[in-house]
């Protein structure tokens, strides 16, 4: 290769590196696209430096010591350049999962939790090296740690380092210890990254949020922990069969399941009876009215109204077979909401042949809630138009969580645990969260579940929202 051609080649590489670098820095392509462009730029730059290095004189006249110094300086320089280049690449890494079913990508629950991290979380996984599931979990956690600078992961083979396991309080195989800000959550015997995601949410909660479930109107609120029952093994040999008298933990369903999910997320669940209270307890982060069958007394409704007026948050799940009535009906009426008697039928998922015996075989997203159009907004204060535009961009994207709030002044924060699907036509507007069904005249419940983040010190200004728009806010 002639010298002239070599220099031409170097110039082409330099130009390529600059072009790709500039394109990557422009951020038009999203983070992933930008990082891919940076990688292209990196390759061109490294090739250029390599070619330049080969152009340097191979030998110089003079003493052997002088030649040695010259070569040593070049070698050290090359090593330093390579190290810096690798560090630069780490800051713009791109992960590609080549598997057909994305089995090397952590589950979306885990991913979304990590994406929302703004402070450091460390997870130490004490795994059983003979457990394939544990090793897979370890590998996925390694992948997750590489992509998230705030997530620090270390894996410890519990058999090789038992002392370390004891120091961490890990007594069982496959124990995940999640730590953040001096707080610690331990999950034993798990290879499920979703469980670890929940543990991460729990550890990030600086204060305990209490979900108060209203009782006294026929709600089937569980009184205590998930119930137990005796097994009943039906065989021809009857009750003499071994295991027939064993105590088993019953499967959780219904509100048991909701309670379990809430406690997994780090909430404390407490039942309250409005009739015996003079006010809704101030430590209730959310009050939930789930499936009331009897009417509210006016006093109860007044308590609830006061609570809402103080900026409280209410989740109401109304069975249309027991439509809003009495005090509750009146309260909701002032918000512009009502429910007509109806029966929920599900031709797809039901028990037996009764369409009205609705079964819920899986949890979010349910097709019913998918049909809802949810407008999502947040108040942009100091950030102004730019903040609103940024929010608008985000809101249009489906499965995107709503940002925690923009601007320096009053912020309306909307917290979502599971992404709410937004139709592309959704528009974002300042100041409210509304749930609206297909029929504008009828009201609809939008289930918006709170996400546990460390922003709990800033409370949403739901008071102003609901008074202005009659929205159900979380």
């Amino acid at each position: 290769m002639s010298r002239g051609f070599s220099w031409f080649f170097i110039l082409v590489l330099a130009a390529t590196a600059l072009v790709f670098g500039a394109l990557g820095a422009s951020h038009h392509w999203g983070e992933r696209g930008s990082n891919l462009l940076f990688f292209g730029s990196w390759c061109a730059a490294m090739l250029m430096l390599f070619a330049l290095g080969l152009q340097l004189p191979l030998r110089i006249a003079g003493s052997r010591a002088r030649a040695m110094l010259y070569n040593a300086a070049l070698a050290i320089g090359a090593i330093v350049v390579v190290c810096l280049a690798n560090v630069a690449m780490f800051r713009h890494d791109v992960y590609l999962d080549a598997t057909r079913k994305a089995t090397n990508t952590p589950p979306p629950q885990f991913g979304s939790v990590l994406d929302g991290l703004s402070s450091d979380v460390s997870l130490t996984y004490f795994y059983n090296h003979s457990d394939r599931n544990a090793i897979d979990a370890k590998d996925l956690l390694t992948v997750a740690a590489r992509q998230n600078p705030h997530f620090h992961f270390s894996a410890v083979d519990i058999d090789k380092e038992p002392a370390k396991a004891r120091a961490f309080g890990a007594r069982a195989y496959n124990t995940a210890v999640v730590e953040a800000d001096g707080r610690r959550v331990v999950v034993e015997n798990t290879a499920d990254l979703a469980q670890m995601a929940f543990a991460t949410l729990r550890v990030l909660k600086r204060k305990v949020d209490v979900v108060c479930l209203i009782t006294g109107h026929g709600e089937s609120v569980p009184e205590g922990p998930p119930h137990f029952h005796y097994s009943h093994v039906e065989t021809l040999r009857g009750h003499e069969t071994p295991g027939a008298g064993d105590l088993l933990q019953g499967d959780t369903d219904g509100l048991d399941r909701l309670q379990l999910a809430l406690t997994t997320l780090g909430y404390t669940v407490r039942a309250i009876a409005l009739t015996s209270l003079s006010a809704v307890p101030p430590d209730c982060s959310v009050v939930a009215e789930i499936g009331p069958r009897h009417a509210y007394a006016p006093a109860e409704a007044a308590l609830l109204s006061d609570y809402l007026a103080r900026g409280g948050r209410l989740l109401a799940m109304i069975d249309p077979e027991f439509p809003l009535q009495g005090g509750l009906g009146d309260l909701f009426g002032t918000l512009g909401l009502a429910s007509d008697p109806a029966t929920v039928i599900d031709p797809l998922n039901h028990y037996g042949s009764d369409h009205d015996k609705v079964a819920v075989p899986y949890y979010p997203p349910h097709s019913r809630s998918r049909a809802d159009r949810v407008r999502c907004t947040a108040r942009g204060g100091g950030a102004g138009g730019r903040g609103r535009r940024a929010l608008a961009r985000r809101c249009r994207r489906p499965d995107k969580t709503i940002p925690a709030g923009l601007g320096r002044q009053q912020q309306l924060r909307r917290q979502f645990l599971f992404p709410v699907r937004l139709k592309r036509r959704s528009r974002c507007r300042d100041g409210e969260v509304v749930g609206r069904g297909r029929n504008e005249a009828s009201s609809q419940t939008a289930i918006l579940q709170p996400r546990a983040t460390d922003h709990a010190d800033q409370r949403p200004d739901a008071h102003r929202v609901h008074r202005r728009r009659g929205a159900i806010a979380s």
Binding site: R59, I60, A61, G62, S63, R64
Partner: protein
């Protein structure tokens, strides 16, 4: 005056703590055949490696056909055909494959390569072994192949480092004749520690010792004296007396291998052309039969020994 093909000025080369070449300066004009004489470790190979671009000097300069050995090494290598000591070759290649490979390295491709290989093979009589793996060749043929690769691109300068080392007498003669033949229009630099070989091929002899150049023309050092060989029949004392009587005669030695009635005498005398005539006249005048009177070339061995005993002497 044309620029010298080789121009070396104040060349110094250190190998770590060892000074291999000490302040060597010489130049070689086009068409000269230079013999570089010196014992093992005197710096001959080092100088050649600098002239072929393999090494760089510590200080000083070396240039071949105007290309500096340090800064223009690549261009310099186009001008030099180098045959290292012991003819290192690739044993797994056949002769024609090797010559083609070297032709490509020297920038000859396609038809020009084929032509060059054909010319070289014919010159060095390698056609018979063209398809033979080099590992199976005799030392003589290996040396020919090594010389062949040096000739492919018809370089300005040929450098041979101990070309007859390890060869049998017939091979030595063959290689020597070959080099003499090649030297016709090319400049040749040849290193050896075998005196007769240098004597027979070189037009100029340089002597190296311990990295220092003792002389750039050893043969010219003997100009102050001439040596004559005489074959005379007669009693030795009488012959000696007659020879000694001629003015300018310095020494008379009877050659050991001479015997019988005619003895051969080696006479060293002043460098005057009339000495030979005077000797003939003196011997004939005394009635002695003179059957041979010849001038003998300077004795390189003697010069070498003379110089190497007095290493401080160096001719310009």
């Amino acid at each position: 005056m044309r620029a010298p093909v080789v121009d070396v000025q104040n060349l110094v080369k250190w190998y770590g703590p060892r000074l291999a070449v000490r302040d060597v300066s010489f130049s070689v004009a086009e068409g000269e055949v230079i013999g570089l004489l010196g014992p093992n470790g005197s710096g001959k190979s080092t100088i050649f490696r600098i002239l072929t671009g393999y090494l760089v000097p510590t200080t000083g300069s070396a240039a071949v056909a105007g290309h500096d050995a340090t800064t223009q090494s690549l261009a310099l290598r186009h001008e030099v055909g180098y045959v290292p000591e012991d003819a290192p070759l690739y044993d797994y290649m056949r002769v024609n494959e090797y010559l083609r490979f070297m032709a490509h390295l020297k920038g000859l491709f396609g038809r020009s390569a084929t032509r060059a290989i054909g010319t070289v093979a014919e010159r060095l009589q390698l056609q018979a072994v063209a398809a033979v793996p080099i590992g199976k060749l005799s030392r003589g043929y290996r040396q020919r192949v090594a010389i062949g690769q040096a000739l492919l691109n018809d370089p300005k300068l040929l450098i041979f480092d101990e070309p007859t080392s390890g060869l049998d007498p017939s091979q030595v003669i063959a290689i020597r004749d070959l080099i003499r033949e090649l030297a016709g229009r090319r400049t040749v630099l040849m290193a050896s520690h075998v005196l007769p070989e240098i004597e027979q091929i070189a037009s100029r002899v340089m002597i190296l010792l311990n990295g220092r150049l003792l002389t750039t023309d050893a043969l010219a050092l003997a100009v102050d004296a001439q040596r004559l060989r005489l074959q005379v029949a007669g009693p030795e004392p009488m012959v000696r007396e007659a020879i000694a009587a001629v003015p300018g005669v310095r020494s008379i030695v009877v050659e050991p291998e001479s015997g019988g009635p005619d003895l051969r005498y080696l006479v060293e005398a002043d460098q005057r052309p009339e000495v030979a005539q005077q000797l003939a006249a003196a011997l004939v005048g005394r009635g002695l039969a003179l059957s041979e009177l010849t001038t003998v070339r300077p004795d390189l061995e003697r010069i070498f020994l003379q110089l190497t005993r007095r290493p401080s002497e160096a001719a310009a």
